[in-house]
Amino acid sequence: MSQFQEQIYRHTTASATRSWRERKGRYLLEGTRCKSCGAIHFPRRTACAECNSRDLEPYRHPFTGMIVEANICWQATGVHIGYGERIPRVSTVIQLDDGVCVLAEVTETPIEKIVPGARVEMVTKKLHRESNSTWMYGYKFVVVDE
């Protein structure tokens, strides 16, 4: 029997150290900004893709944006982390208000509202267990009425 109440979805769980390193990206949408050319990135970069500068600073992207494309998948994928057996699986590409695009799930929103053009806001949600049994948290989005 597992020490966890819920089903363990992965035989090899993700490294807790690895996800801890990326916590600011997942909690705060923190990416990078290039001090040389001003380009902004998400996810964070190690070197600027525009000018190859390594002089980057942390940059927090806005928590609001717009759905560019959405996909609603009604097929459960068994051991899939993050979704598990939950359907539908909602995946979207969201363009944040500073122009950067992110891949994210839209949650707590009626399916018919998850369409391109809908305004969204970031929320922090519980994702799944890490290798040391702590929970990983990260961003999802909800559609907001404006």
Binding site: P43, N52, N71, T92, V100, L127
Partner: protein
């Protein structure tokens, strides 16, 4: 053609049949050996003739073994010949072909065996394997798989270019099924054709995944006449890569000043810029234009074939889906697509896909494709996708009848 030490020819091909099935009684070594020995025999060689090899697999997750070069040399009985491993997801086979081409073109090796395989049924967490076609930190850990990228891209393409309903999917799936019923090695060969109208839905263009291996033998072109089959030349070959992150496909491609000349960034959203760059490079090498292409193999998972046909220049941006709707992809159409049956009907053994495409092109250019033979095939192109459009390959093959 640009100046290289040698022009490269394919003189042997091999592939395991029905790569859309799982083979529980076979090891990955059995599958690799089946295809590799078939290719070596096809070239009229013996295994010890091979003086260099390249092998591709989806990733280490597939057979739970990293650094397989030594095992491959040992299993084929070609040690101490070098075996260079690649793990570049679904386009791995054609990435390996790039390396194999380099090995011959440089003159360093004389007879090179290139292989690509997949053995996904051996993987403990089958779904995990599919996920790790990703950068992982910001997509995989959020629960996304790379197929989500295909579906998002397809939805974007379909709505952006004014497709209504799923008729283009239906047309593509039906075309692939038609070819697959005429290819004895296809997974769905010998099974009844599906009803055309039953295919007009988003699920009709999902590949049938499984296990298999493909292999080719390369030599310098000036020696190709010494081998039993009609030679086929690799005139152009390239690999274009970009980030794994799916949101970069619809947003701005992170290419900075290397963004392909003459394109407007906003117009490339929903297109594969990496493939556009790869195709340009391959066509330049081969000194061909898109109009010279007699047939093409593309990676037909969801609507991906549509923008690959666009990127290859066979159609204008947005017309890839209509290429199938208009019947242009049929055997007597303007440019037949996926004459092997494609991933939809031939089968999808990830690491082998890129090479299976090239093997089909060689069969066509040799004129040995039987019922699915494209008339007067002289120049065939293969485009393969690794991950969600991170590794894009383009291979131009011709035969002796091709005239520029």
């Amino acid at each position: 053609m640009a100046k290289y030490e040698h022009k490269v020819a394919i003189v042997g091909i091999g592939s395991t049949a029905a790569p859309g099935r799982i083979y529980p009684t076979k090891t990955w070594k059995d599958i690799v050996c089946d295809a590799a020995y078939e290719a070596i025999e096809d070239a009229g060689m013996v295994p010890r003739d091979i003086d260099g090899a390249v092998i591709a697999y989806h990733g280490e997750g597939v057979n739970e073994q990293g650094g397989i070069g030594g095992s491959v040399a040992d299993l084929l009985g070609i040690a101490p010949a070098p075996v260079f491993p690649h793990s570049m997801n679904c386009s791995g086979g054609s990435v390996a072909l790039n390396t194999g081409w380099d090995m011959i073109a440089s003159g360093k090796y004389k007879k090179v065996l290139v292989m690509g395989f997949d053995k996904e049924g051996d993987n403990i967490g089958y779904t995990e394997n599919i996920n790790i076609s990703f950068d992982t930190e910001y997509d995989y850990v959020f629960g996304f798989r790379h197929r989500d990228g295909f579906e998002l891209m397809s939805n974007y393409y379909m709505s952006h270019y004014g497709y209504e309903g799923w008729e283009a999917y239906g047309a593509q799936a039906y075309q692939c099924h038609w070819y697959g019923r005429r290819n004895p090695k296809a997974t769905l060969y010998g099974t009844p054709m599906p009803d055309r109208d039953s295919l007009n839905h988003s699920g009709s263009c999902f590949s049938i995944m499984g296990e298999g291996c493909a292999a080719v033998v390369l030599v310098a072109a000036d020696e190709a006449k010494n081998y039993p089959h009609k030679p086929v030349y690799i005139d152009g070959i390239s690999l274009g890569v970009t980030s794994h992150y799916i949101a970069h496909r619809i947003g701005e491609p992170p290419m900075g000043p290397a963004f392909p000349e003459g394109l407007v960034k906003e117009e490339t959203y929903g297109q594969s810029v990496a493939l556009i760059a790869a195709a340009r490079k391959a066509y330049e090498m081969a000194e061909i234009e898109a109009k010279d292409i007699d047939l093409a193999q593309v990676y037909d998972l969801t609507g991906a074939a549509f923008w690959q046909i666009d990127a290859l220049g066979i159609t204008e941006f947005g017309e890839g889906g209509r290429h199938f709707l208009n019947g242009d992809a049929a055997i007597d159409g303007k440019c037949p697509i996926n004459t092997s049956g494609g991933l939809i009907s031939y089968g999808h053994a990830s690491g082998a896909d890129g090479l299976n495409q090239v093997v089909e092109n060689v069969i066509q250019l040799r004129g040995e494709a039987g019922e699915r033979q494209v008339k007067d095939a002289r120049c065939a192109v293969a485009a393969c996708t690794g991950s969600a459009f991170a590794h894009m390959t383009c291979t131009v093959t011709t035969n002796d009848e091709f005239e520029r």
